[in-house]
Assembly symmetry: C2
Homo-oligomer: 113 residues x 2
DNA sequence: TCCGACAGTACCCGATAGGAACCAGCGTGC
DNA sequence: GCACGCTGGTTCCTATCGGGTACTGTCGGA
């Protein structure tokens, strides 16, 4: 059971003050699981992600990528080429998160609707 | 069966029209993973869930439970007792979803912050 | 000169999350 | 009778988020 102290001495997603709650919120948000999955096979560009994640608007995709980058789950690399090329790639941490997220997507595809 | 074939003949979370996208959105929302995890060990009452999920407001908990019930991931049973007792319990489908969600929570607890 | 590709940003709007307060039914104490 | 507490919520209001459309800026090509 959750030992509810006012701080978080061990990681417990059920504890309100635990930083891992933030991580769960991020991973468990609408597009994150799809973005991370789309990057499993290697780096992808903004436009490629946009096509792969059917229905995502550029704004939301941009926000999602920024949050994932802030959390160090992905890296963003801009190449000063013409036309501009920007690549997003999973970090080691992101690749770790991709594993349980893939299980979740697989379960959903097997059991939804 | 996924052979309804209007727009989504196979389950693919990356397809915009696929009903499994809705399921992913539901599971990958802020409180769902925690609610389902809290019900893994058996039925729980509203107040128990409220304590277990530190920081959840009754409104949001109520909404989350309703959506999970609509999707048949949990059942709600009200007993005409004094005081009123309401129990939430995982369905078979919900218990299935609990497995990948537990992996996700475990990963988060092992890797966050 | 205009067009399109690329990687976003700006603006506006509706939906959702969040907090605080409030409600209803029932039993108990006064 | 009346307040009180327990339980399981609902309602109000606001802040944030997600979402759609339009637009920017740079460049190469027709």
């Amino acid at each position: 059971m959750a030992t509810t102290t006012d701080s978080c001495d061990r990681n417990d997603v059920y504890a309100a003050m635990c930083p891992c709650r933030d991580m769960l919120d991020l991973l468990a948000s609408k597009w994150s699981a799809l973005v991370i999955g789309a990057l499993e096979d290697g780096p992808r560009r903004f436009g490629q992600l946009r096509l792969r994640l059917e229905g995502v608007s550029p704004k939301v995709l941009s926000q999602t990528l920024k949050r994932l980058e802030d959390r160090e789950l992905i890296t963003r690399t801009a190449y000063a080429e013409v036309p501009l090329r920007v690549e997003y790639e999973l970090t080691e941490l992101g690749a770790g998160a991709a594993v349980p997220l893939k299980h979740l997507r697989d379960w959903v595809e097997s059991n939804a609707a």
